[in-house]
Symmetry: C2
Subunit: 220 residues, 2 copies
DNA sequence: TACAATTTTTAGACTAATCTAAAAATATTT
DNA sequence: AAATATTTTTAGATTAGTCTAAAAATTGTA
C-alpha cells in the first residue's frame, strides 16, 4: 500500500507532532529522518498529493486523519515486533529497535493480528511505550519521571524518556528496567542525585540525568 | 549487505540450477522472476561484477560459491519464517509463502539464529522442504512421490512437488498434509487413480495428478 | 550453407528517492 | 525599515531497478 519510505516519513512526522503542537517544519523532519531539507520538500509534496498530510509552502506540514492512521499503524507494528523480539526471542531491550525498524514495514494485516494474539495482546513494549490497538487507540498510562518523586515514595519503572542505546545499555548495566520496584531513600541536595532501593534489596545511587529519563508509575 | 532485488535474483537462479544442470538462460530467469529479459541482462551484469555469479554474453549464468551461499541463506530464512508462521502463528500452510517472501529479506544474522532456536531447530518447513543449516548444508531426506508406491505400501507424507496455492488448498480440503500416514489400498488401472487409507481410518480416492505431486517417506 | 526464427543484448527512457547548489521566501537584528 | 541570516524551495543530476524497441548473436531448418 505505502512504501517503506512513505511509512517512515509519516512515522517521523507523527512523532514530531506528538511533542510540539502546530505545524511541523521541513528542517525538523530532515533532522529526524537524517536526510536533507530538499529531499523532505519532495517527499512532503508527494504525501500531500496522496492526502496523507496538509502542506503549504514555507508553512510546514500537518498529518491528515488518514496519514495519522498510517503512522500509528506503523508504530503499532514496530512495538509489537519489539515485544516479540524481547519476550519470545530473548533479545535484550536495547537490541530490538533496529530489527523492528525493518519488520514494521512487512505488509500483512493478518500477520499483525496473529502476532498480537500470540503475544497475548500486550499493552506496552519492552521500553514501556504503549502499543496502539488495532483501531489506533493509544492508552497512555499515567506516569511521571523518577525525578519528580519525593523521599520515601514508592514506584514501578514503566519506561524511558531517552530511547538511545547508550542510555538503555546503562540501565541494563545497573539492572534497572520496566517492572523494577523502586523506593526513593534520599535525594542529595548538592547534585540532585538519588539514592534508591530496587526490588526491596539493592541500594543504588543514580544521577539526576538518569532520574529525569526514567518513567515510573506511582505505587499506590 | 545485498538488496531485496539481488537476493531475489540469486534465489531464483539457485532454484533453476537445482533442477537443470549447466548454465541458466536469461529467458528462464526472466520467466521465474516475472520480468523482462532486458532487465535480467542488466541485473546479471551487476551480480557478475560483485562476483556472485559467472556471466558470459549469450551463454547464460552460473552461481559462484559466494552467490550460492547468499541464495541458500535466503532460502533458509524463507523456510524458517514459514515454519514460524505455521507453527507459532497458526497460519495454514498455503498462506505462509507470500509473507515469508517479505520476511526473508530482513537483515540480521542474530535474528535468524534466535528464530531457529525458538523454533527448536526444525529440519523441514510446513511444505516438507528441508531448511538449510547455518553453514548452508542441506539434508535431503530420501523421498519418492506417492505415485511410485505399490498396492499395500505404507508411507508418511513429507512434502509436495507442486507448491502452487491451488494445489496446497486442494490437499487442505481433503485433509492430506505433512505427517499424514497413508496406506495404498488400490491403484485403478484405467486412470492410475489411487484409493488410499489416511491415518488408518479415512478412505480417499485421489487422482494420478495428485499422487504425482505428493512426496512421501516409505514407512519401514 | 543460407535463410528464418528465436534469444539475448544494447540503447534510451522512466520512476522513486536522493543529493548539491542556487534562488526565493521568511525571520531576525540593528 | 533596511540589511543580514536562516529556512525552504527549485532546478538539475544521480542511482537502482525497470521498461520498450531495435540491433546483434545464436539456433534451427530447408
Amino acid at each position: 500500500m505505502y512504501s517503506f519510505t512513505e511509512e517512515n516519513y509519516l512515522k517521523a512526522i507523527y512523532k514530531l507532532s506528538d511533542n510540539k503542537a502546530g505545524e511541523i517544519t521541513t528542517n525538523a523532519i530532515a533532522d529526524a529522518m537524517q536526510t536533507k531539507a530538499a529531499s523532505v520538500t519532495d517527499m512532503v509534496k508527494k504525501l500531500a498529493e496522496k492526502q496523507l498530510l496538509k502542506y503549504e509552502k514555507y508553512k510546514g506540514v500537518k498529518l491528515s486523519a488518514k496519514g495519522r492512521k498510517v503512522a500509528i499503524d506503523t508504530v503499532r507494528k514496530h512495538r509489537l515486533w519489539e515485544t516479540f523480539l524481547h519476550n519470545k526471542l530473548n533479545f535484550k531491550w536495547d537490541e530490538v529497535h533496529e530489527i523492528a525498524e525493518q519488520l514494521e514495514h512487512i505488509q500483512s494485516e493478518t500477520l499483525i493480528d496473529k502476532l498480537d494474539d500470540f503475544l497475548g495482546y500486550p499493552a506496552h513494549d519492552p521500553h514501556g511505550d504503549p502499543i496502539p490497538g488495532k483501531n489506533g487507540e493509544i492508552k497512555m498510562h499515567d506516569v511521571v519521571t523518577l525525578s519528580n518523586l519525593k523521599k520515601g515514595d514508592r514506584c514501578v519503572v514503566v519506561g524511558v524518556v531517552d530511547h538511545r542505546t547508550i542510555f538503555l545499555k546503562h540501565l541494563q548495566k545497573i539492572n534497572l528496567m520496566p517492572g523494577s520496584k523502586i523506593q526513593v531513600s534520599t535525594i542529595n541536595e548538592f547534585d540532585q542525585s538519588h539514592n534508591i532501593k530496587v526490588n526491596r534489596n539493592i541500594e543504588l545511587q543514580i544521577s539526576f540525568d538518569v532520574a529525569k529519563n526514567i518513567l515510573v508509575k506511582i505505587d499506590s
